[in-house]
């Protein structure tokens, strides 16, 4: 390589390095805010239009079929949430009987946000929302839709926007528990396309198809009882300490327009 190319590489690398340093110091914040302020509204409109186009793409009779489909989807999700809430309430009731000073907490502080973009980096499965640090959003907070269906966690929070890492992202890890007799716990991981997998489930614990998976509450920020999905298949190997469940998420990640971020559990 000729010396001038090495020099040019050095110059380019130094300028990029300085840009990165200035970002972390905060000197670029006004420029970044301005860019986000310009991009966000238009992105939001384009994204909403894109989602509605995608939703109608595979329907033969768009209007009636679409309405019926959306109503059924909503009913199914609400029914799943109600089932889990009932089971959790029963468990909590039993615990209360055994303790003298236990107070159940079931209300979360949360904030709503709108999705303005998706999958910025082709190797990630993410959503961009129009709320950020200014709205008390922090990395690691769970993100839900509906009445408690988990879609992922906040990966990064900027001042006015935030990035949600969806649960089917290859770097997503969520502590989950199965609503079975053994209350099996494991780690729900993404990176398998549409489905996710729950790994590190003890081999001796019994799990069935259609068992519901919820968050276990064993990780920071993520409270217990948020619905993840249902067991679609089970993978077991002899002489292995753990088995694996393939999970179909309750939510379709393609048509999310609004989300709620759980910012605290009082």
């Amino acid at each position: 390589m000729r010396p001038s190319r090495i020099k040019k590489t050095g110059i380019v690398g130094t300028i990029i390095g300085l840009l990165i340093i200035f970002h972390y110091i905060g000197w670029l914040a006004p420029i970044e805010k301005a860019i986000i302020k310009i991009v966000s509204p238009t992105s939001e409109q384009i994204y909403s239009l894109g989602v509605s186009i995608e939703e109608r793409k595979n329907l033969n009779n768009p209007d009636e079929l679409y309405k019926a489909y959306k109503e059924l989807e909503k009913t199914y999700q609400e029914a799943q949430v109600d089932n889990v809430t009932q089971a959790l309430l029963q468990e909590e009731n039993e615990e209360l009987r055994q303790q003298l000073s236990f107070f159940a907490t079931s209300s979360y502080t949360h904030i709503g946000a709108e999705v303005i973009g998706r999958n910025i980096d082709p190797i990630a499965s993410t959503l961009t929302i129009n709320k950020g640090k200014e709205d008390h959003i922090e990395a690691g907070q769970p993100v839900i839709i509906g009445k408690g269906i988990l879609i992922g966690k906040i990966a990064r929070a900027n001042e006015k926007t935030a990035i949600i890492r969806l649960m089917n992202d290859s770097k997503s890890k969520i502590a989950g528990t199965i609503r079975n007799q053994d209350k099996s716990i494991g780690i729900v991981e993404g990176g398998y396309g549409i489905s996710v997998r729950m790994n590190f489930i003890p081999q001796n614990e019994k799990i069935d198809i259609d068992d519901i998976i919820v968050t276990s509450g064993l990780e920071e920020h993520v409270s217990r009882g948020l619905i993840i999905g249902t067991v679609e298949a089970i993978e077991k190997e002899a002489y292995q300490p753990f088995q694996r469940a393939i999970i179909t998420p309750t939510v379709r990640f393609n048509d999310i327009i609004t989300v709620s971020i759980i910012t605290g559990t009082p």
Binding site: R5, K8, T9, V12, G13, I15, I16, G17, L19, I20, H23, Y24, E32, I35, I36, I38, V39, T42, S43, E44, I46, Y47, G50, I53, E54, I116, G117, R118, N119, I120, D121, P122, I123, A124, T126, T128, A155, R156, N158, T161, I163, R165, D169, S170, K171, K173, E189, G190, G191, Y192, N254
Partner: protein, 178 residues
């Protein structure tokens, strides 16, 4: 003066358009076409069309915009992409000097592979420094996605080059110019 101003407006407008496409519209494409890296495709095509080193700086600005909406720590995409586009420009100047669709595809594939190698290297370094558990990352899924990204973007470049070589005479190897 007016011409320069108009050029600047056009460049900035194009960068915003690319950002909109990458953040809000690229997901509409079916799998595996959704993996096409639109910004990279545009930058490589700009190198082929304009043959100017300024494309490296335009790429840096475009990926700076993309960084604001990415989930990775700030700097990974910006540094990897800028270095890869710089290398792609040098590849064009020294190796892929013939104006052909297969040279364009080769350049795209090599530049994207370099981009992802740099990206993963910096990502692994950050994971090591922050003492994260590398074994928990789904490397198989990442490798598969990178394969689709490189393949689809390269094919898209080939098709784009063939289609646009009829419009832009610069891309046509039959046309001789100085």
């Amino acid at each position: 003066m007016l011409r320069i101003a108009l050029k600047c407006i056009l460049v900035i407008g194009s960068i915003f358009l690319l950002t909109f496409l990458q953040t809000s519209a690229s997901f509409l494409l079916p799998h595996p076409f959704v993996k096409i890296n639109i910004v990279f495709l545009a930058m490589i095509f700009a190198i082929l069309l304009y043959e100017s080193g300024n494309i490296v700086w335009i790429s840096a600005i475009a990926h700076f915009f993309i960084e604001l909406f990415a989930s990775t720590p700030f700097g990974i995409i910006l540094f990897s992409s800028t270095m890869s586009i710089l290398a792609a420009f040098w590849l064009y100047q020294t190796i892929f000097t013939n104006r052909s669709w297969y040279a364009a595809m080769a350049m795209t594939a090599i530049a994207l592979i370099m981009y992802r190698i740099l990206y993963l290297f910096i990502f692994i370094m950050i994971e090591i420094i922050t003492e994260a558990t590398l074994s928990l990352v789904n490397w198989g899924a990442i490798a598969k996605t990178i394969f689709w990204e490189v393949s689809m973007t390269t094919i898209a470049m080939g098709i784009l080059y063939v289609l646009l070589s009829g419009i832009f005479k610069k891309l046509n190897h039959h046309v001789i110019y100085s």
